[in-house]
């Protein structure tokens, strides 16, 4: 046994001088971090700062190349997630680990199944699941198959799973990204209860409001190094952002367009999608960023995807106007390929599954956009100069030959955006422009979108993050049950106003707005 801090009580967790490399990149360099019992300890920093890697050392997913980990003063070796769990570390990972072919109860008990007479005790499993779900205030039937759950429900299940473990140390890696405000509030109460029981909670988040609301201590990482650890009461949001970014962030959102929007680039007439009862008209003009707000699942996604040629609308027509002012009808049977050829591109919410070729290098991911409209047998030209220009414009420092799968969320988002910027499309449809992206990269992405429309393009963005829509967009459409029920100018919009529109006539659903917690 090794007592690193003789004389005083050892912290619950001490990571001492830990380093971790992946290939040639140093993810963590000599990071030391101590967490005390009875504390909610925020770990924050930009994407790629090493927060998740640091927590994965403690969760037993990665082993440190150097350095030591102590739990209650005892040096431990965490060889696997199962080993970490045996030592009292329970982790809610950033990636969802809910297994689709298992039931809610089976997922909750996986890895610590109750047995009776060496057989699975399904009755006990169900009772345990019911107890955990009740404690966490989640209404999910234990027998439900998890493939039917929404992302938000899966995330709540992940949280319940983390809580279900008899643990001394809890790690929550960005648990709130897909959650709505009511769910975040519930999580907050659960965390405070754990804290009162003397547990240590490491809480990774980009959301400053959450950090200041319920975390007592904040550790900031930058570029794999520990910047500082302070009581959150001693910090303010501006100071914390500058610690994360390493510079003072001037402005999150770029200024709105000064001129009135130009010519129409896309007309949708009588477009009927999802559960909508009536067709919707929509026009996107050059030079404007249009947002779509509303409660979750009110047809925003369906409408966007119909415009992208991915989903066939039940009725209505879509018309694109080319550079020479000629109108082209969109034929839905030709799908997304035609939409891209005609200059309409989609940036999907799930960038890993739908947006990027994770195994291909950055440069190929971008060049593929340039092949838009070329013939299949035409030579695929490589253009290293383009990559250099884009990397400079987007402030990307990664090597162009690096596989996209190895990048942080913010950089992946930039690669996806870079592809369409380079491809010459004119209409960009964006789902959740900055989900899981850190503050610094957010400002850059907003700036790039603004630049795109300033050069004659148009952007339609769906986001659950109302402050983002308000700060970014020139005009915000509010959808309810597939219908556009209102439009607000971005400069005049407020969260309250948008919510009121989104909720109108639906008092039963009030209190669960899809908006996410305000940031920065």
């Amino acid at each position: 046994m090794d007592h690193p801090q003789a004389g005083q009580a050892a912290p619950r967790v001490l990571l001492r001088q830990v380093s971790k490399r992946f290939g040639s990149t140093a993810a963590l360099q000599q990071v030391s971090l101590a967490g005390a019992a009875g504390s909610i300890h925020a770990v924050t920093g930009e994407n790629g700062a090493g927060k998740s890697t640091l927590m994965k050392l403690l969760a037993g997913v990665h082993a440190p190349d150097e350095g030591e980990i102590f739990i209650d003063g005892v040096a431990v070796r965490l060889a696997s997630p199962a080993a970490a769990r045996r030592l009292g570390v329970s982790t809610v990972f950033q990636e969802l680990t809910v297994l689709p072919n298992l039931s809610v109860a089976e997922n909750l008990c996986l890895g610590r199944e109750p047995l009776s007479a060496r057989m699975l005790d399904r009755g006990a499993m169900r009772r345990q699941a019911e107890a955990v779900l009740a404690r966490a205030g989640i209404s999910l039937a234990p027998h439900r198959a998890c493939r039917e759950l929404s992302i938000g429900e899966q995330q709540m299940l992940e949280i319940a799973k983390g809580l279900a473990a008899e643990a001394r140390i809890f790690i929550f890696d960005e648990p709130t990204a897909p959650l709505n405000r009511a769910e975040v509030d519930r999580l907050e109460r659960l965390l405070l209860a754990l804290k009162a029981q003397g547990k240590l909670i490491f809480y990774i988040s980009h959301r400053l409001e959450e950090i200041f609301r319920f975390c007592d201590t904040v550790s900031v990482l930058k570029d794999g190094q520990h910047v500082c650890t302070q009581a959150s009461a001693a910090l303010n949001p501006d100071r914390l952002v500058s610690l994360m970014v390493g510079r003072e962030l001037q402005q999150l959102f770029p200024p709105r367009a000064a001129e009135r929007p130009g010519a129409a680039l896309l007309h949708a007439r009588g477009l009927q999608v999802g559960e909508a009862r009536a067709g919707q008209d929509l026009t996107l003009r050059a030079g404007e960023i249009v947002g779509m707000a509303g409660l979750e699942g009110q047809g925003q996604r369906e409408l966007l995807r119909a415009l992208a040629g991915l989903a066939r609308p039940r009725a209505g027509s879509i018309e694109l106007i080319d550079e020479l002012g000629r109108a082209h009808a969109v034929q839905h049977r030709h799908g997304a390929a035609q939409a891209v050829r005609q200059g309409v591109a989609l940036m999907p919410e799930d960038r890993k599954a739908e947006g990027l070729y994770l195994d291909l290098p950055i440069q190929d991911n971008i060049w593929l956009g340039r092949l838009r409209g070329t013939r299949l047998w035409q030579r695929a030209r490589r253009d290293p100069a383009l990559i250099t220009r884009l990397a400079e414009r987007m402030q990307m420092r990664s090597a162009p030959a690096l596989a996209v799968g190895a990048l942080s969320g913010g950089n992946q988002q930039k690669v996806m955006l870079g592809r369409w910027l380079a491809s010459g499309v004119r209409v960009l449809l964006v789902e959740q422009p900055t989900r899981g992206v850190d503050v610094g990269a957010k400002a850059e992405i907003y700036g790039l979108l603004r630049q795109f429309v300033a050069e004659g393009g148009t952007v339609l963005a769906v986001s659950g993050d109302l402050p983002e829509l308000i700060g970014l967009c020139d005009r915000i459409l509010v959808l309810r049950q597939g219908a556009i029920v209102g439009t607000m100018a971005g400069a005049a919009a407020s969260e309250e106003g948008l919510l009121a529109l989104a909720l109108q006539e639906r008092p039963a659903q009030a209190g669960i707005p899809s908006s996410q917690v305000q940031e920065a």
């Binding site: 997630p81 297994l99 689709p100 298992l102 997922n107 199944e113 699975l120 198959a145 493939r147 799973k161």
Partner: protein, 306 residues
């Protein structure tokens, strides 16, 4: 219920054998003869046992093409080994060793299952011909009895099937190992993050598969009462066909013992029925191929995943 979703069962999976039985009962008087039913039980037992082994591997999204070669080599070992007890032990030991090799190759060395098991299959098939160049050898009467005798009027083949089905069903449905099989098959990385030892499970799956292949080989050798280096040649693909007909999702995570029984029954009934009608075995292969394609096309192919 979630268990029915990941069982991979559909009305087609269960309806096909039922339809075949009804059709044969109605159209062919010979089918109902006790002698034929006895034959039928004997015919499908080996396929069923091998397919149950294949189920473990396919549940994890793998495939084992060495099933047939393990059966053949088991048969040759039994034929050249005078003591049947040692013969059986050698065969079972062979199964475990081959499974360990396949499993380690796939799980630790990262070799693709097709390549890994094709290599061992080729190696073992060659070895079988070295051990016993032509069919023959002496099979102990005890073994023949164990495969073809009857007990209280029940053919032993039924007991072999019953034991294999009960064992595998218990493991998959009632043990925590079974739940872990479905978890790793659903999404290996998630299962690992939840504290399941995914790699060890892959090794176990290949070992279970090869072990059951060895058992199928022992049974079939007793039944034909001779060693045969080509005994299992059809079984690698037939076991995959039975598993696919039974609604097991070959990308992993969904499948059930009931489905495999239904799949093996369908293939067996088809063989038996076409035999009774005097259709040539070549035509039978043509029909089996068509049936497999038809059956798999009406199944939902992605049960796991969102």
């Amino acid at each position: 219920m979630s268990t029915t979703i990941r069982s991979g069962l559909s009305r087609y999976t269960l309806g096909l054998p039922l339809l075949l039985v009804l059709g044969l009962l109605a159209s062919n008087a010979d089918f109902r003869q006790p002698q034929n039913l006895l034959n039928f039980g004997g015919q499908i037992a080996a396929l069923l046992i091998a397919a149950l082994g294949q189920l473990f591997v396919t549940l994890l999204g793998g495939i084992d093409l060495s099933v047939g070669a393990v059966m053949s080599l088991s048969s040759c070992l039994l034929a050249v080994q005078p003591d049947p007890l040692w013969g059986v032990l050698f065969a079972l030991g062979l199964g475990l060793a081959v499974g360990l090799l396949n499993g380690v190759g796939v799980a630790l060395a990262g070799v693709h299952p097709l390549v890994m098991t094709l290599s061992t299959a080729t190696f073992l098939q060659g070895l079988a011909h070295v051990v016993l160049p032509i069919p023959g050898g002496r099979i102990a009467p005890a073994l023949t009895h164990a495969a073809s005798g009857t007990w209280l009027g029940l053919p032993h083949s039924l007991l072999w099937c019953g034991a294999a089905v009960a064992g595998v069903a218990w493991l998959l449905n009632r043990s925590r190992l079974g739940l872990h099989f479905y978890a790793v098959g659903g999404q290996a990385r998630s299962a690992y993050l939840n504290g399941v030892n995914a790699r060890a499970l892959v090794v176990l799956a290949y070992m279970a598969c090869s072990l059951l292949a060895a058992v199928a080989g022992i049974y079939l050798t007793g039944r034909v009462a001779a060693g045969d280096p080509a005994l299992g040649s059809a079984f690698a693909l037939e076991s995959v066909a039975a598993v696919a007909l039974g609604g097991v999702q070959l990308t992993g995570g969904a499948g059930s013992v009931t489905g495999v029984v239904a799949g093996a029954l369908s293939l067996g009934l088809l063989t038996n029925g076409l035999n009774l009608f005097g259709v040539s075995p070549f035509m039978r292969a043509v029909l089996t191929g068509c049936l497999l394609l038809a059956a798999v096309s009406v199944q939902r192919r992605r049960i796991v995943g969102m």
